[in-house]
């Protein structure tokens, strides 16, 4: 089943889905493994596995530092791929996606990377610095390999642009809740609500939204407005402060 179909199916029984995120190799693959288990066992629908890059231009400070730490400890792209493969095997109930910057694909070989990802059962790819204009071959290859190239909507996107972008995308649309990088708190106000309405009108794909979600109320606020809540930096902070075992209860709490 492709990602979109899978998400639609899950939405039949849940008011909102959950996607979590982690940086591979931060603080270690061992901890990653334990965190993923907690996530999977607490009903997370999708997990973004970020392959570290030295120039994480679109990320906020917490994730930037995690990228760097992971690289300092010597994580390699091939370690990330092997680890991801293992997780996909171990947690078939979760949709895994790779999140990384384009240079990682490019240096690995765009075609080869997409093929490897598809073969291991990866459901989608999130590449924030690859707009559709630069991604012609990438998009074609994703289609060929039936892996979802996740596209972005942003508050600065015009309606036309949203439609154009959505046409290239698959799986779901990552709706950036506000201007700026990851990791900052946002509130649900009229402008955000209006933005999400515009997103909804522009595409049939599920909408994923994250904006510093850390409590049940944050997730609840999204119900009816979006299809999936994205937990970004919150789990990284949690693991830093309380360790991997705190993740399960946290995720559980989010779903009320």
């Amino acid at each position: 089943m492709n990602l979109t179909a899978d998400l639609r199916k899950r939405l039949e029984t849940k008011p909102i889905l959950l996607m979590t995120h982690l940086v591979l190799g931060y603080p270690s693959l061992e901890v990653n493994r334990r965190v993923i288990r907690q996530m999977a066992e607490n009903g997370v629908d999708c997990i973004e596995l970020q392959i570290p890059f030295s120039e994480p231009m679109a990320d906020g400070p917490v994730i930037v530092r995690a990228n760097q730490e992971a690289l300092n400890q010597g994580i390699r792209v091939k370690d990330c791929l092997a680890f991801a493969e293992e997780m996909i095997r171990e947690f078939p109930q979760v949709n895994f996606l790779f999140m990384t910057y384009y240079n990682i694909l490019f240096r690995f070989g765009e075609e080869l990377f997409i093929q490897r990802a598809a073969e291991m059962g990866m459901k989608g790819l999130i590449v924030p610095d690859l707009p559709p204009e630069e991604g012609e071959t990438y998009l074609r290859r994703c289609r060929e390999q039936s892996i979802a190239p996740i596209m972005f909507f942003t508050p600065t996107s015009t309606d036309d642009r949203m439609r154009e972008v959505a046409d290239h995308g698959d799986g779901f649309i990552y709706c950036v809740a506000r201007k700026g990088v990851t990791g900052k708190q946002t509130v649900m106000d009229a402008s955000l609500a209006g933005y999400l309405e515009r997103c909804r009108k522009a595409t049939d794909l599920p909408l994923a939204v994250g904006f510093g979600i850390s409590r049940r109320e944050d997730v609840a606020m999204l119900e009816g407005r979006a299809d999936m809540a994205v937990i970004g930096t919150a789990t990284i902070r949690l693991v830093d402060e309380l360790g991997p075992d705190a993740v399960g209860p946290f995720i559980g709490g989010l779903l009320g």
Binding site: S54, Y102, D129, E134, F152, K179
Partner: protein
Amino acid sequence: MTENSAQKGYYGPWGGAFIPEVLHQTFAELNLAYEKARADESFWQEYVRLMGNYSCRPTPLTYAENLSNHFGGARIFIKREDLNHTGAHKANNVMGQGLLVKRMGKKRVIAETGAGQHGVATATMAARFGFACTIYMGEEDVARQRPNVFWMEQLGAKVVPVTDGSKTLKDAINEAFRDWVARMDDTHYVLGTVCGPHPFPEMVAWFQSIIGQEARSQILEQHGAMPAAVYACVGGGSNAMGIFQGFTNESGVDLVGVEAGGKGIHTDQHASRMTGSRAAAGVAQGYKTMFLQDEDGQMLDTHSIAAGLDYVGISPILARLGDSGRVRFEAATDDEVIAALQLTMRSEGIIPALESAHAFVQAFKDAPKMNRHDAIIINMSGRGDKDIFTIAHAFDDPSWKRFIIGRGDEYRNSMLASQKAKD
């Protein structure tokens, strides 16, 4: 990525605009404003007028008679970008972008800076145009380049030390992009060189082309013929692109870009992308070019005695001109740079910036092999007095060290005294 290299913003396989979706609209507007300005002759006239009135363009093309005699080969001419306001060619680009920002109606500018030269230039432009200004600068560079930080602050800019990554130029660029994606509505990012996503390479090259335009007519007037070769140092590549554009159509003119050879291009302490073997095609900081990176695509640490050349990427336009053989690339080591700097100071009374001195190195290697009826032009991108802390350090000058130690002690004592007074 697209395979159609004739696409706007591409130079052969290089270039493009690898930007986060949130900047799509911003770049659309920037492209529009830039294309309009470029099509509007009065814009360029306004730019030339501004540079003539606020900086001192046209900058002279100085005949270096003593150096020419010293080497006994080609006649050596020096294009004097050091005489620009703020002391380097960086002024051309920032003032041009300043005019564009005014047209776009934005009220705030941000910029990255490594050596601080582009930061000072941007802070200057912002003061002059009345823009708010924030400069991102790697924490290491903040520490190394304190004088420039001081001036930026005095000029009214906020200098933000960047503590991520290698804490140098490339990290400052990332951080500037992070600022931009949060405040694109009122803010323009004044990129400092011919790199980054389209339209920056093309736009910055356009503003810097004023160097080549002037140099071309000056060499014709002073030498009566095209030069045999033109030399420029290459960090991002803006001063090189600036002067080369005056001569790219003259196939007889050898265009030579000189990269930072650091401790030698066979070591891992340099910043040579087009020479040496540490660089490979890659995509980062919004564009595709040759980057100094490892097999995974992680950017490498770079080294140069010249902070302004200490950068992982290179202009996509220059990468293309290198591929096609139109531009020859060479590297100059830190030691060669110091020697060329000393010779130039003593022979001509001219103090090139450490960056610029790289171009002098290669010119000095080639000049003796040429004839007296050949002329060569060295683009002196900036003046070296900004580099006193680095140069005095590199020369290991004992009086300088004693001076700094003495000053430091004075400050320590006065700070301790005022501390005690407070307690």
